[in-house]
Each structure stands twice: as C-alpha cells, then as structure tokens.
Symmetry: C2
Subunit: 201 residues, 2 copies
C-alpha cells in the first residue's frame, strides 16, 4: 500500500462504497484506492479559501444574533494582525470596547458551533512562536484551520453522489494526494501489489 501519486490520478476513479463511514473505497485502471474523505474535503476547502482570499469576494453566512467573546490580552494583541485575513475569508468582526469582539458573520461552510473555537485557535497560533513570519504562510495556516473546522467529520455516511462530488472536486485541487496538514489523502493498492499478495507475481 502506497501513497497515491498525483500523476496517476484520472477522472476514471469509480467509488464503490465506504469503509467505516470514513474512507471511500474506489477503483481505477491502476487498481484499488482508499480516499480519506475528511482529508479530501479539507483539501477542497483549503483551496477554496485560498482562492476566496485572492478574489476578495468572501462567501458568508450572517449570524442572526451576533456572538461576542472576550479575548485574552495575547489574543487581543494578535487580533489586529489577522482581522483583515479573516474578513477576506468571510468573517465579519467588530472590535467592541476593551478586549471584546462581536462576530456578525462567518464563512459559509463553517458550522456556527465551530466559529468560537476557530477564532481562538487562529489567534493563539498568531500569538505563538510564529509572529512576524511571511504573510503567505499565515494565510495558509488560517485557511488550513478553517478547512479543518469546516470539513465533514469521519464516521459520516456518504451517498454515491457525495462520494462522486468529493472525488471530482479533489482532482481539481492543487494537491489531490495530501491534505493541508501534510497527511496523505489517497492510498493505493496497485494491481501488482494485489497479484503479489495472491502469490501470482
């Protein structure tokens, strides 16, 4: 079993079903593939967020009741550094008095329940050892955090159509074989691996 090499991926991938409601089992002309459905969705979302930032046309959902939360002093110091990036991704944020922030809108894919944790996570990241690094790497990190919070969970049953959608969109991303955190998304069992397993090669 090996990581799927990008060059051998074509649109002839045919999903057969899921394992543990977490991995898509598929075949193509080369053999068998296992696709981490969560990693695939993270990659799709990550690429989308990076595009959104560039296009400056974020895709938002407004919260009926704006949510407020209190930043730690360190988070408050980091806030200025990332608020622009967050707005570009679809957040609408307002600094209130003191260290309180109101969230009026969040990116369209993000479950509202994840908004608070995501903001904390991003502000803590910026506050950490990585302050002052390149803006591009900060954007990557923010997009990766957002993708992780918004991606479908493991143990989610998928219809045939949803599996098809994930595979088709994954193949259009910048890196269909690794998730934004660097883990493999696709494992491959080639025909040769299989024949060897059956003592045929």
């Amino acid at each position: 079993m090996r990581d799927g090499a990008a060059k051998s991926l074509t649109s002839n991938i045919r999903p057969l079903g899921q394992l543990e409601d977490s991995f898509i089992i598929a075949t193509d002309a080369e053999g068998l593939l296992l696709i981490d459905q969560r990693g695939a969705h993270e990659r799709i979302l990550f690429d989308k967020y990076r595009r959104l930032e560039a296009s400056r046309r974020p895709d938002s959902q407004s919260l009926l009741v704006p949510e407020t939360f209190d930043l730690t002093p360190a988070q408050a110091a980091a806030f200025g550094e990332v608020s622009d990036e967050l707005e570009r991704l679809g957040f609408s944020l307002m600094r209130l008095s003191g260290r309180t922030v109101a969230v009026r809108a969040i990116p369209a894919d993000l479950p509202a329940t994840e908004a608070r944790n995501l903001l904390s996570e991003i502000l803590d990241t910026v506050d950490g050892e990585k302050r002052g690094r390149a803006r591009e790497s900060l954007r990557d990190e923010i997009a990766a955090s957002l993708a992780r919070r918004a991606a479908l969970k493991l143990n989610t049953a998928l219809t045939q159509e949803k599996m098809r959608w994930l595979i088709d969109h994954l193949l259009l991303t910048s890196s269909p074989t690794t998730c934004p955190h660097g883990h493999p998304i696709i494992l491959r069992l080639t025909k040769r691996d299989i024949e060897r397993g059956f003592h045929r090669a």
Copy 2:
C-alpha cells in the same frame, strides 16, 4: 496487506464490487477484504467434489454425442487406477477397443470443452512420479484438477447476487482462506493497516 485469517471471518462480509472483474472488494468489521473469485470458486467446488465422492451420488451431465479419445500407452496404464474415482465424481467412461475411451457423461459443473483436457491432465498426473501413493492424496489431486477446470474464470463480471453466493458458500468450506492449490483466497487490509497508511497510527 496480509492473508485473511480464518478465525476472523464472519458472515458480516459485505461485497461492494469487483476489481478488474477478478477480485471481489468487500468490507467487514475488521476492515477491507479482497477475495480472489476464481480461488474462492475452486475451493467451493473442491469441497463439493470431495463430498460427492464420499456420498457416491455424483452429479452428472450426459453428453448428447459421447466423445471418444485415444490414450497414450502411459495414460492407458494409468486409466485403471483412476476410473473408479472419476465415475464417483460424475464421469461416465467406457473403455473401447485398444487405447480408446468413450466419455458419455461429465460432472455437472464442468464445461464440456474442458472434459478432454481434464482427463488428460489427471491421467498424466497419475502416470507421473506420484503413482502408488495414498488414495486420499490421489482423490485430492483429482478433485483439485476438476475444481480448477470447472471454476469461473478471471475477468468475469459478477452480479451482486453471485458475489454474495460465492462469499456465503466460501465461508462454509473446510478452508475459506486457501484454494486447493495452496494459494491465498483472501487478502485483508485491517483498520490498523489503513490508519497506519494514512499516518494516523
């Protein structure tokens, strides 16, 4: 990827589809399975032929026109040693003058086109180095030859029902994980193998 251990096989195996029209892709509670459809069918037929021999109620198909063929001197010498066994498996054979044999019926599962090759193969085997060995091992060998000739071929598309049938009947055999020739029938990819592949374990 490892050979499927018999102890972990249960009837919860769920076929999803085929790879290369040759291997059944299935899942169970332990992970993913690949089943060599030809090996599985050989194992099912082998067990059936061994039972038939014991029951002495062969399952035959009569040939509309008996087929005759001429034995080599070595095959003719071997004929007497195996004709009883062959009759028990569903052959109806008649020794004609000289070294000619007429085949009037063959085992029910055997394609008629394979009958001639099968008889030659069995007679050649007996004639070989193995003459005079235990009767049981001769019976095993004949049943294995017959199973190989009668088993479904690779590159055969199977319906969901046929996959289900193969799996259910394979699980009832004396040795669901190895074919009569000793090759593995089932390869397993455990959940742990898969998690390790995705760098999760």
